[in-house]
Symmetry: C2
Subunit: 558 residues, 2 copies
């Protein structure tokens, strides 16, 4: 038995149970509060991050030809000045190739145990990771600690639990014995071995670098495949921190550290295509734009491809018994992480005739107003605005906002203009509050694509059924990662759930009093794989079962 496995076995078993029953559970502390952690660890994390600025990042990787990296903090708009090894990819793959055989022969328990240890060590650097995520992805401190930290680690453990379950489904040996007619009995000793597929390349996104990074790492590595992490050029540091821990643990445990490597790049000199095209690359996990994701799905046909991209996340409002709470919940999604989350809502479908609130009719305009006011409520306190909105990951989002912030025929009516908010800690922070536009259902060319950033549409449909039809059409044709319905009418709720599900989308109903963007590891199946927002679910059995194959040998007993 592996010591690493033994160390973490109880946690793994709890994760397996949580995946099976899908109750609320977390293995990692998601609050950064000093009440829990004391004051030293948060301070040390910040100091450790600051010490990395302006330095070559201490990642010792073979096949390095100079340094690369050009990250800029969305909080200070200053370059981080951190550089990373630039990889000679063909040579790096030769080193990876040398690591393969040992890892393939390593037991399931040892591999899973080491992945558990990797997650554990990453959980010990969540403060460093939080500052690194803030100053690359632009998230707020609290989101960077939780969403991009503890919650992401939980998702890694979830994927690992599925990988473990799928591998343990295959026995290692069997006795087989039967008669063949007059030829007598045949007795065979059978042995089943799991074989990896090849190198797994994990392409991370800029906004939540490790959200799918941990799951993809665990799914591929636990099943025997070396992993190359490819961070987005804007958000290398969080990935580098993870890769460092993985390599450390591999060395400690006597394995080749090149089982986990990182290929950093810049926008000017991108390295992704060379990774995708390398013949040893057998698995691609991609998180990013629908355009590139679709290209990979269609062009990397000799590889296993798992994608999470983006869609037009929608809300359909049919009725409610608490307009204020509903508006606050929707507004929270419009603000949180400046609507740069894969679960952020963009399209709010509201009947032209208005809705019933506790039996009283409330007009379309009043609902829009209520949502706008709820947004203002979230932004009122600058500290709260900062925690909730964070910053914009990219300057380009301003262009989107500027382009849309012009009203007129076929452009809708601006209900709320976007503008910067003042970030208490960072006067230069790249910020923007929600732009909210009123549109008719017919102006669909404006809302039927993902507009990345704090942009939302209050879309006036004929009636609730019309709203539902438009929203589910978009989920089917343009993709959806989350969808929401508000209704106190049980028939409509059932109908809406069915319509979204048949469109290949999951749906949440009447969520209030909680962040509606929240996706719960071990409980929510994140991404359905049935609509254009991704071809995989992270995680389920299908996410892991093809990452390895079974070969067998049978030997006749003498």
């Amino acid at each position: 038995m592996s010591v690493w496995f033994e160390k973490h076995q109880a946690t793994l078993e709890k994760a397996l149970d949580a995946c099976a029953k899908r109750y609320a559970w977390t293995a990692y502390q998601e609050s950064p509060s000093s009440k829990i952690h004391g004051s030293e660890r948060p301070a040390a994390g910040k100091a450790n991050f600051e010490a990395m600025l302006g330095q070559p990042y201490p990642l010792k990787q073979p096949a390095s030809i100079g340094q690369t990296g050009a990250e800029v903090s969305p909080y200070t708009k200053e370059a981080l000045g951190i550089t990373y090894p630039k990889a000679d990819i063909p040579e790096l793959y030769q080193h990876i190739d040398q690591a393969k055989a040992q890892w393939r022969q390593t037991s399931i328990e040892e591999r899973v145990g080491l992945c558990m240890e990797m997650l554990h060590r990453c959980s010990e650097q969540l403060f460093e990771n939080a500052h690194a995520t803030m100053h690359t992805s632009g998230q707020s401190y609290i989101m960077a600690f939780a969403g991009s930290g503890a919650n992401a680690l939980d998702r890694g453990l979830e994927a690992l639990a599925y990988a473990y379950k799928a591998m343990k489904d295959v026995p290692t040996t069997a006795d087989w014995e039967r008669q063949f007619g007059a030829d007598g009995a045949a007795k065979l000793d059978k042995r089943y071995r799991l074989m990896p597929r090849g190198v797994g390349v994990v392409i991370c996104c800029a906004t939540f670098p490790l959200w799918n990074g941990y799951p993809a790492l665990c799914a591929s590595l636990a099943t025997g495949n070396p992993v190359v992490m490819k961070p987005h050029p804007a958000a290398i540091l969080p990935v580098a921190l993870m890769v460092s821990r993985c390599r450390e643990i591999l060395v400690e445990a006597g394995y080749d550290p090149n089982l986990v490597t990182m290929v950093a790049d810049t926008r000017e000199e991108p390295a992704t295509m060379e990774l995708l095209e390398h013949p040893d690359t057998a698995i691609i996990d991609f998180t990013g734009s629908p355009q590139f994701g679709t290209w990979i799905e269609q062009n990397c046909r000799d590889k296993l491809v798992y994608t999470e991209t983006a869609g037009c996340n929608s809300v359909v409002i049919e009725s409610t018994d608490d307009l204020a709470a509903m508006s606050k919940a929707i507004a929270h999604s419009l603000c949180q992480a400046s609507a740069q989350m894969c679960t952020s809502v963009q399209n709010v479908h509201i009947p032209a005739e208005g809705i019933l609130v506790n039996g009283e009719r409330v007009s379309y305009e009043e609902i829009c107003q209520s949502i706008v006011e709820a947004v203002e409520g979230h932004l009122e306190n600058p500290k709260n605005a900062a925690f909730l909105c964070g910053t914009l990951v990219d300057d380009n989002i301003y262009q989107t906002l500027d382009r849309l912030a012009v009203q007129g025929e076929q452009r809708g009516t601006i209900l709320r203009q976007s503008g910067p908010y003042e970030n208490p800690g960072f006067p230069n922070a790249r910020t923007a509050t929600p732009l909210i536009i009123a549109l008719s259902n017919e102006e669909s060319e404006l809302y039927r694509e993902e507009l990345f950033g704090p942009v939302s549409f209050m879309i006036k449909g004929k009636d609730a059924n019309d709203c539902l039809a438009a929203a589910t059409r978009d989920a089917r044709e343009r993709g959806a990662i989350t969808s929401h319905v508000y209704s106190v009418n049980d028939d409509f709720l059932e109908k809406a759930q069915d319509a979204y599900n048949v469109a290949g989308a999951s749906v949440a109903c009447n969520l209030m009093g909680m962040p509606i963007n929240f996706a719960a590891a071990y409980s929510d199946f994140h991404v359905t794989g049935l609509n254009p927002a991704g071809n995989a679910c992270l995680a389920d059995l299908a996410f892991v079962t093809s990452r390895f194959r079974i070969v067998q040998s049978k030997v006749m007993r003498r």
Copy 2:
């Protein structure tokens, strides 16, 4: 609870246990002996088959535009004269579309129970199926009853067990509750639904029409997808018999029979491409030539594709303690079903220096001679030859044999000429005995492709390691479904198992006294998916987990 599920639950549970522990088990009687079945059932099966000849086959399917079919018996060389409905494919898909919603909403247990009943009813027509398979695929009666009958049904049940296990891994509901800071507790009722992918098209091969037909049908249908069976134009009848039973059961149970349909065609007017290209086709299960299989893998990138094609199955001989038994076992593979099985051996690698047999050196030539004599031994008794060899599925095989039966430089030495054998029951049967050619390892352009039919090569390698290197190179580069090693040297056996496994191939060691072509459902993982002989394993979890997706809804508890 479904009555169909209850009826078959004990068998399903036994199958699940057998898959988990992989011991020898069968759910279906594989002997056609009248000692088991009495004399009436075999006679009735034959009579039922004969009554079908020269008639339109009684398959009532919508969207039929005339009749098609041009099967010829390899035993009589006469046309069967059976015609089948010719499908207007776009119109047929409209009917299939109407059947989808009900099936999607049907419980896992009901769907699995109905698939079990389909397998059961097919097991009741194994005599009809045996005659249908003889007179289309050309198999011997006993092989048609067992290999293409009972053994294939077991494989269907195996795939069904995996589909059931994968679907039951997803709970139907969950209670989820947690605190979100000061916002209070969120309580969600979650519901998880399995969604099918679309229409599954199952392309069957000519030689073993239902070998992968039952597994693919069960894997797709149980997970909610309608299935279109596409028989090879030379072997429609066995598939038609299966489709008839499936449709009967669906009607009996109150479902739309168009959940299982058949699209028959002729070589002159093929229908496969239209099925592959139809936008509703989401899953393709293909059994057939490596050329077409590879084309599908590369060109149907928007579908799920599962293939079993063919490779260069090899034997490596290093040593043995029973030359006669080893030779008999290898010779059995060269003869069985005229080497038209996916598990038939083609390339026998023998060291130039000969091998040790119980410590005594036996030359390369003597080993070849021993194998040739063992072939003669199998063929001596005409009744045995007929049972073992059956007939050739296709006239083209004679061309392959003629082309190869010329010796000379770079063509090898003919060790045994092929010729017809006299089939006791069918004087016109299309038969051929094994052609055996001696070659050097260097003449690899001759043996490094699948030569379909009774052709084998005795390949002289430098030594045992050289033999193993050539055989495993071919497994990796050209594919292998079975591989054999004979050795009494434990070190060599370990080395060989490792070399084949690393090449992505399974391996059998020292098989004697049993038909070495035999693949055991529930125990052998058939096809690894790691080499060019197929991209899937039939069956494992990966064969089923992507055939459905999970969508969820979560509703806040008031």
